[in-house]
C-alpha cells in the first residue's frame, strides 16, 4: 500500500469498470440479486484487491494475510467479480451466481467457497467477527490487518453498536472499517427509514478515528487507508460516500435498485454505458 500514480489510477478505473460489467452480466444471468450496492462498491473493491490488501491468490490461506470481512453479504456480486478479476476464481464461474451447486451462493457461504473469510447476509454480524479477528491477531502479534465492509443500513443494527464500542475500548489499530454510505436501504432512503446522522460523531464517540471520503475517488480512499496505518491507539472508520448503482445513470441513486437485477434489455443498456468509458 502506498500513494497512487496516475498510471495506477487509470488501471484501477479499468478494473472497476470490468468488475461493474461482470456484475451486470452475473445479475442478468442469475435473474435475482442486488444491483445498486454492488455497483456502488466496485471502486473500493478494485482499490482493495488491486492495491491495498495483502491478500492475493498466491497467499490466499497464509496466516498473516490481510482479512476482508464483508458484512453486508447481499452485495456479493461485487466481491465475487473482484475475486474473479484478481485471479482467485475463474471468470466463467461468475455466471453460476445463485444457481444450484454453485460456489457463488446468493449470500456468501464459506462452506462453498473457502477463500471467503466469513459467511454473511444477516445484517450487522460482520464487524463483530472483524473485531474478533483483530483481537486474535493482536494476541498473536500477527501483522495481518482486518478490513470490515459494512452498509449504512446495518448501522441501525444493535450488534454493530456493540462491536463498535468493543473495538474502541480495545483500541484495535489493526482494524479498518468502511461504511458504504449510499443513503439507501430496502424500504427507502436511510434518513427516512431510520436517521443515522450524525454518523461520524457516533463512531468518534466510541473512540474510533473517523474519516470521510468520496467512495469513487481512488486517491481519497487510498489516502484514508494510508492514514489508518499511522493511527496507533484506535480503530479507523472510513465513511465512504458512494452513489448506489454507480456507473449506470438509469440505476444511480434509486433505492428501487437495491434488491433487484436488471432484465436482459436493461443489462444491455447498462453494459453499453459502462463500455463507453473503457
Amino acid at each position: 500500500m502506498s500513494a497512487l500514480s496516475d498510471k495506477e489510477i487509470k488501471n484501477l478505473e479499468k478494473k472497476a469498470s470490468e468488475i461493474r460489467q461482470s456484475i451486470i452480466e452475473m445479475l442478468v444471468e442469475a435473474k435475482s440479486g442486488h444491483t445498486a450496492g454492488a455497483l456502488g462498491m466496485a471502486d473500493i473493491f478494485a482499490l482493495l484487491y488491486f492495491h491495498a490488501l495483502n491478500h492475493t491468490p498466491e497467499n490466499s490461506h497464509d496466516s498473516n494475510r490481510d482479512r476482508l470481512v464483508l458484512s453486508n453479504g447481499h452485495i456479493c456480486p461485487v466481491y465475487y467479480a473482484t475475486l474473479a478479476h484478481r485471479g482467485f476464481i475463474p471468470k466463467e464461474e461468475l455466471m453460476t451466481l445463485r444457481k444450484f451447486g454453485s460456489r457463488l451462493q446468493g449470500h456468501p457461504h464459506r462452506d462453498f467457497l473457502d477463500i471467503l473469510e466469513t459467511s454473511s447476509g444477516p445484517l450487522g454480524s460482520g464487524l463483530s467477527q472483524a473485531v474478533g479477528m483483530a483481537l486474535a491477531a493482536r494476541m498473536d502479534k500477527n501483522p495481518a490487518r482486518i478490513f470490515a465492509l459494512m452498509s449504512d443500513g446495518e448501522q441501525e443494527a444493535g450488534m454493530t453498536w456493540e462491536a463498535g464500542m468493543l473495538a474502541g475500548k480495545e483500541k484495535l489499530n489493526n482494524l479498518v472499517a468502511i461504511i458504504d454510505r449510499n443513503n439507501i436501504q430496502i424500504d427507502g432512503f436511510t434518513e427516512d427509514v431510520m436517521p443515522l446522522e450524525p454518523l461520524a460523531d457516533k463512531w468518534r464517540a466510541w473512540n474510533w478515528h473517523v474519516l470521510e471520503v468520496d467512495g469513487h475517488n481512488f486517491e481519497e480512499i487510498n489516502n484514508a487507508l494510508e492514514e489508518a496505518k499511522s493511527i496507533h491507539n484506535r480503530p479507523t472508520m472510513i465513511i465512504a460516500h458512494t452513489t448506489p448503482g454507480k456507473g449506470v445513470k438509469e440505476f444511480e441513486n434509486k433505492y428501487e435498485w437495491h434488491g433487484k437485477p436488471p432484465t436482459k434489455e436493461e443489462g444491455e443498456i447498462a453494459l453499453a454505458e459502462l463500455r463507453k468509458h473503457d
Binding site: 454480524s125 467477527q129 483481537l135
Partner: protein
C-alpha cells in the same frame, strides 16, 4: 445395580454438593493450561458464569465484552477464524437465548469451533424467577447443524465435558446449572462426547429412565425406590443430547420395553424429543416425558420448583408407571 464408578455417598444425606457451573470453571482453567489457543470471552458475568479462574490465570487471553451477547458470539467466531478456541460464557438465557441467530450465522454456518457455556439453565435457578430460568436452550441449540449439545449431570462431569469440548473442532453448547447439586460421578466415571452411560441397571428391567443434567440424581433415587416395589429399572445418564448415543439407547429400550425421559427443560424440543425422534423410527416402545409442560418458570426454591413442575421423584415415578402401563 449402581454403576461402580459413581460416588459411593450418592444416596447419603451428607453427599457433597457443588454447582455444576463450578466444574465448568475448573475445566476451563485446565483446558486453558493445556492449550494456549483457548481464550475466554465474558458478557459481564465473569464471576457467576465461573470464568474468573481462567481470567486470573490468563488475563491476556480473556476478553470482557460487556452486556452484548450478540457481539459475544460474533467476536468469538472471528477469534476462532484466526485459530483460537474461544469459550463464551454467560447465562443460558442470554447466550444462546438472546444471540441464537448470531450463533447460527457466525458460528455454526461458518463452522467455527466456538464453545458456548450457558450457565443458570433450568428452573432450579430459583428465586430470580422466570426471566432467568432457561428451559428452551437444548431445543434451540440442538436444532442447529454442527452443534454438539452437552448437559452434564454434576460438577465433575461438567469439568470433563469442558476439557473434551476444547479438543473438538466443532461448535459445542454446554448447559450448566447454578445451584449446588449432588456429586454423582467420580474421576473414574467414563465420559466421552456422544456416549451415554448406564448408571443403574436391574437384571430384569421393566423401564429405562434416560436422564440428563442434575435430575440424573432424582432418576437414580427413583430407580432405588422402584426396586423396593419389585420394579426393575435402568437409568441412563445422557450428557450428550447431540450427538445421540443411538446404540446404547436402542439397546436398553429394547431390553426394558418402556422409556421415560427426564430433563429440566421444556418437553417440546428437549432431550426427550431427541430420544423420541430416534426411537420412533426404530422401535415401537411407549415413551413418557418428564419436563416442563409448555409453561414459564417462577420464583421459589429449587426444591419447590422441581416439585411444582413435576420434575421430582414423584413426577418421575408416575411417568414410570404410565410408561409400563402402556406396554
Amino acid at each position: 445395580m449402581i454403576n461402580k464408578t459413581l460416588n459411593k455417598k450418592i444416596f447419603d444425606t451428607d453427599c457433597e454438593q457443588v454447582p455444576i457451573r463450578h466444574g465448568f470453571g475448573e475445566g476451563l482453567l485446565i483446558a486453558g493450561e493445556r492449550d494456549e489457543r483457548v481464550v475466554t470471552l465474558c458478557a459481564d458475568l465473569t464471576e457467576s458464569a465461573q470464568a474468573y479462574m481462567f481470567k486470573e490465570k490468563f488475563p491476556e487471553r480473556f476478553v470482557e465484552i460487556g452486556v452484548a451477547e450478540q457481539n459475544l458470539a460474533g467476536v468469538a467466531s472471528g477469534m476462532a477464524a484466526m485459530g483460537k478456541i474461544p469459550f463464551i460464557t454467560s447465562y443460558a438465557m442470554f447466550s444462546p437465548g438472546r444471540n441464537w441467530e448470531q450463533i447460527r450465522t457466525t458460528i455454526t454456518y461458518n463452522n467455527r469451533p466456538v464453545k458456548i457455556a450457558g450457565s443458570h439453565a433450568g428452573i432450579s435457578v430459583g428465586p430470580d424467577g422466570g426471566t432467568h430460568q432457561m428451559i428452551e436452550d437444548i431445543a434451540i441449540m440442538r436444532v442447529q447443524p454442527r452443534m454438539v449439545v452437552l448437559s452434564p449431570c454434576d460438577a465433575i462431569e461438567a469439568r470433563k465435558a469442558t476439557i473434551e469440548a476444547a479438543k473438538t473442532d466443532t461448535p459445542v453448547y454446554i448447559r450448566l446449572a447454578r445451584e449446588k447439586t449432588p456429586i454423582i460421578t467420580t474421576d473414574e466415571t467414563p465420559f466421552e462426547i456422544g456416549k451415554a452411560t448406564i448408571f443403574y441397571e436391574h437384571e430384569r428391567p421393566e423401564v429405562v429412565i434416560i436422564a440428563t443434567g442434575a435430575l440424573v440424581h432424582k432418576a437414580l433415587q427413583v430407580a432405588q425406590n422402584l426396586e423396593k416395589q419389585n420394579i426393575g429399572a435402568i437409568v441412563i445418564n445422557l450428557p450428550a443430547v447431540k450427538p445421540l448415543d443411538e446404540k446404547t439407547i436402542l439397546g436398553v429400550a429394547e431390553r426394558a420395553g418402556a422409556v421415560v425421559t427426564v430433563e429440566e427443560h421444556q418437553i417440546a424440543g428437549g432431550m426427550g424429543s431427541a430420544v423420541s425422534e430416534f426411537l420412533s423410527q426404530n422401535l415401537l416402545v411407549p415413551i413418557e416425558f418428564v419436563g416442563v409442560k409448555d409453561q414459564f418458570g417462577q420464583s421459589g426454591t429449587p426444591a419447590e420448583l422441581i416439585e411444582h413442575y413435576g420434575l421430582g421423584a414423584k413426577g418421575i415415578e408416575e411417568a414410570v408407571h404410565r410408561a409400563i402401563g402402556r406396554k
